[in-house]
C-alpha cells in the first residue's frame, strides 16, 4: 500500500445527503481524518452531525458524494450514542460474534477480549445479558467491541454520555493507545471542554453545512473570536 493510500483513514466528500432525493439534510461536507488524528465533529442539535455519521456508514438512502475508508484493513468501528445490543446474546457472545464477523481467530479473540473486559472492569459480567447492565456498562460494551476490532477509524458518537469519570479516563487512555497505533478517530460530541483538550482538529457543522474546520486556531479565525477564545465561545459565535 502506498503512502498516498495511507495518508487518510477516512475521506468524505459529500455533496449532499438526505432521506429524500430532493431534500438534502447535509450539503458540502468535506472532511478527512489522518492516521493518529482525532477530529471532533461539533454542532448544535439538529445541525447534521448524526446524518454525517450515518452517511459515512452508508446508512443514508440518498447520497451524492464519496466516502472512503482507508488504512490497512479499511475497517471502521462505530460507537453509538445510545447503546445497541442483541437482547439474546451475553456480553461474551457479543464479542465472539464481532470477532467471527471480522475473521479474528478464537485464540486471538479470547486473550484480547479478556484483557479488554479487565480494563473496563466487566470480567464478572462476561456471561450476563447486556440488557441487565446500566447505561454506562452498556456504553462500555460498545467501546470494548470497537477496541476489539482494531479498526482503522473509530466513528464515535457522544462517547462521554453515561460514562463515569473513571470509565471516561479509561476510554481516553485506550483511545490514545489506538491513536498511537495509527488509528483515526471521528468523534461527534457536545462536551466541548473535553473535545478542546483532546481533539487535534475540528469540523463545526450548522444547518447541514460546515461553518468552520481545522485546528482550534483556524476555528477561532473562522468564528472571528479572540486568540484565547475557547471552543465553546467559538461554537456560540458560529451557531
Amino acid at each position: 500500500m502506498g503512502d498516498k493510500e495511507n495518508a487518510y483513514v477516512l475521506q468524505a466528500a459529500i455533496a449532499k445527503a438526505g432521506y429524500e432525493a430532493e431534500k438534502a439534510t447535509i450539503r458540502d461536507i468535506h472532511l478527512k481524518v489522518a492516521p493518529g488524528e482525532l477530529v471532533g465533529l461539533i454542532g448544535p442539535n439538529g445541525a447534521g452531525k448524526s446524518t454525517t455519521v450515518k452517511t459515512i456508514m452508508g446508512l443514508m438512502p440518498n447520497v451524492t458524494g464519496k466516502v472512503e475508508i482507508g488504512g490497512r484493513h479499511k475497517r471502521y468501528a462505530y460507537v453509538p450514542e445510545q447503546p445497541v445490543y442483541y437482547e439474546y446474546f451475553t456480553l461474551w457472545e457479543h464479542l465472539r460474534l464481532a470477532a467471527s464477523v471480522f475473521g479474528i481467530t478464537e485464540a486471538q479473540f479470547a486473550s484480547k477480549a479478556e484483557r479488554l473486559l479487565e480494563q473496563f472492569r466487566l470480567t464478572e459480567e462476561k456471561h450476563h445479558y447486556p440488557m441487565s447492565f446500566s447505561k454506562g456498562m452498556q456504553q462500555k460494551l460498545m467501546l470494548i467491541i470497537a477496541f476489539l476490532l482494531e479498526p482503522d477509524i473509530y466513528i464515535v458518537d457522544e462517547p462521554f454520555v453515561g460514562l463515569d469519570p473513571r470509565a471516561t479516563s479509561d476510554f481516553l487512555s485506550l483511545l490514545q493507545g489506538e491513536l498511537d497505533r495509527g488509528a483515526g478517530v471521528l468523534m461527534s460530541t457536545h462536551v466541548l471542554d473535553t473535545a478542546e483538550r483532546i481533539c487535534r482538529s475540528f469540523v463545526l457543522i450548522n444547518q447541514g453545512s460546515i461553518v468552520a474546520q481545522g485546528s482550534l486556531d483556524q476555528v477561532r479565525r473562522d468564528a472571528g473570536c479572540a486568540e484565547d477564545a475557547t471552543l465553546s465561545q467559538c461554537f456560540l459565535a458560529l451557531t
Binding site: 438512502p61 465472539r96 460498545m142
Partner: protein
C-alpha cells in the same frame, strides 16, 4: 466461531420461540378444549359433507374470483420478506457485505417457504368448491397455486424494495400503483384458468421471470439497513400487535411535520354539533392513518376488479356483499379509535357518539358506493346508466343511514356506542 448461516438459524429459532410464546399466551388448554377442538370437529365434518355433496347455494358463487380476492389481500397485506437483521448489526455486521448477503439469501428462501405455507389454507378451504362447482382439475388448481406463490413472492419482494427506495407520500403512491397493477395482473389470469387458455401459461412464465429479475436486483442492491431493521421490528411485533390490538397504543406509521390531508386543520362540515364534530374527527383520523387508508383502498381496488370480472347481472348484488365485509371492518376500526386514550377521556353523550359513527360511516363509504355503482351500472346498461346508478345508490345509502337511526335494534347499539 459463528457463521452467517449459524446466525440466521439462531435468529430464526429465536423468532419461532417468540411467536410461540405470544400465541401460547392466548391459546391455553381451555381455549383448545372449548373452542379449537370443537371447531375442528364441526368444520371438519362440514368440510367432509361439502366434499361428498356440493351444497346448492354454492352453485352461483364465482369461487375462483372469490379465492383470488382473498389470496390477493393476503399477498398485499399478509406476507412479507424477512431477513432477520437486528438494530445492533450496525455495530460491526454492517460493513461485512458477505454476511449481509448471506442473511438476505437465507431470508428469501425462508420467506418463500413461509408464503408457500400461508397460501395453502385458502386453497384447501376452496378446494371442494373449485372441484365441485368450477369443475376445475387438480392440475389447474396446482397451476393456480404455483402462480399465486410466484405472485405472492413477487409482490412482497417489490413492496419490500419500494420501502427502501421511497419515503412518505412517494412510497404510498408507489405501493398503490403496485397494488393496482398487481390486482389486475393476478386476478385476470386466475379467472381465465382453463386448459385451453394459453394466457395462464404465459402469465406463469412472466411471473417467474419477473421474480428472478427482482431477486437478482434485490441481492445486488446495497442493503437499506434502516428500512430492513424497521421492517423486521414490525414483523417481530405483528403477532403481539394482532393479539393485543385492543390494548396496545397504536403509533403513527411515519412522522410528518404536517398532515398530508387537511394541512391547515380546516373543517369538513359546516355543522358544529357534537355528532358532526366526532364524525369529522373520525374521518380525518381514518384518512390520516395511512395503514387503514391503505387497506381501504386495497379493498376498493380488489372489489372494483371483481365487479368488472363477474357477470354484469350480478354486479349490484355483489355490492351488497361488499358492504357485509367492509361495514364490520369499519365498525371495528371505529371501536379502536373510540377507545384510544385521548378520545376515550371525554364523557361523550351516547346519541352524539352514535351520530358520529353514522355520519362518518356514510361519508367514508360514499366514494366506494359511487365507484361500485358506476361500474355496475356501466356493465349492466352501458355509459348512460353510470350517473343514474350512482345517484340511485347514493340515495339508497343516504336513506339507509337516515332510517337505521329509527330502528329499535340499532338504538340498542347506540347505547353501546357511547361511553357514559
Amino acid at each position: 466461531m459463528m457463521t452467517p448461516s449459524g446466525l440466521f438459524f439462531f435468529r430464526l429459532k429465536r423468532n419461532i420461540k417468540e411467536q410461540a410464546k405470544a400465541w401460547s399466551s392466548v391459546l391455553d388448554w381451555t381455549v383448545l378444549l372449548y373452542i379449537l377442538v370443537p371447531a375442528i370437529l364441526v368444520f371438519g365434518g362440514l368440510y367432509r359433507e361439502i366434499w361428498l355433496e356440493t351444497p346448492k347455494w354454492a352453485a352461483g358463487v364465482p369461487w375462483f374470483l372469490l379465492l383470488s380476492i382473498v389470496l390477493f389481500l393476503i399477498m398485499a397485506f399478509g406476507v412479507r420478506i424477512r431477513i432477520f437483521v437486528d438494530e445492533a448489526d450496525r455495530l460491526f455486521l454492517l460493513q461485512q457485505s458477505r454476511w449481509l448477503k448471506q442473511l438476505k439469501r437465507y431470508g428469501m428462501i425462508y420467506s418463500f417457504l413461509m408464503q408457500a405455507l400461508v397460501l395453502v389454507p385458502p386453497f384447501l378451504v376452496a378446494l371442494p368448491f373449485l372441484v365441485g362447482v368450477e369443475q376445475a382439475k387438480l392440475k389447474e388448481i396446482g397451476a393456480a397455486y404455483l402462480y399465486s406463490l410466484l405472485f405472492a413472492m413477487l409482490m412482497s419482494m417489490t413492496i419490500h424494495m419500494l420501502a427502501g427506495m421511497f419515503r412518505k407520500w412517494r412510497l404510498i403512491v408507489m405501493e398503490a400503483i403496485v397494488l393496482l397493477i398487481g390486482a389486475a395482473a393476478y386476478v385476470y389470469p386466475i379467472l381465465t384458468l382453463k386448459p385451453e387458455a394459453s394466457i395462464f401459461g404465459e402469465a406463469l412464465a412472466g411471473a417467474a421471470v419477473l421474480l428472478i429479475i427482482v431477486v437478482i436486483v434485490y441481492l445486488r442492491r446495497p442493503i437499506q439497513f434502516e428500512t430492513e431493521v424497521k421492517n423486521e421490528r414490525s414483523a417481530r411485533l405483528s403477532s403481539t400487535e394482532l393479539l393485543m390490538s385492543q390494548v396496545i397504543e397504536r403509533k403513527p406509521v411515519m412522522k410528518l411535520k404536517k398532515p398530508l390531508f387537511m394541512r391547515r386543520s380546516g373543517r369538513l362540515f359546516k355543522k358544529s354539533d357534537t355528532g358532526t364534530i366526532i364524525a369529522e374527527l373520525r374521518i380525518i383520523a381514518f384518512i390520516r392513518s395511512l395503514s387503514t387508508l391503505r387497506i381501504g383502498l386495497g379493498f376498493l381496488s380488489v372489489t372494483t376488479g371483481a365487479l368488472i370480472a363477474v357477470p354484469a347481472s350480478a354486479g349490484f348484488a355483489l355490492i351488497g356483499g361488499f358492504l357485509f365485509l367492509i361495514v364490520p371492518w369499519l365498525r371495528a376500526q371505529w371501536e379502536q379509535w373510540r377507545n384510544e386514550e385521548f378520545v376515550g377521556q371525554f364523557p361523550w353523550n351516547t346519541a352524539d357518539m352514535f351520530a358520529g359513527l353514522r355520519i362518518s360511516r356514510f361519508w367514508l363509504l360514499l366514494p366506494n358506493m359511487m365507484i361500485w355503482s358506476a361500474v355496475a351500472g356501466f356493465r349492466l346498461l352501458g355509459l348512460w346508466a353510470v350517473l343514474p346508478s350512482m345517484v340511485a345508490c347514493v340515495l339508497i345509502w343516504r336513506v339507509a343511514h337516515t332510517r337505521e337511526w329509527r330502528r329499535p335494534a340499532l338504538k340498542a347499539e347506540a347505547s353501546n356506542a357511547g361511553r357514559d
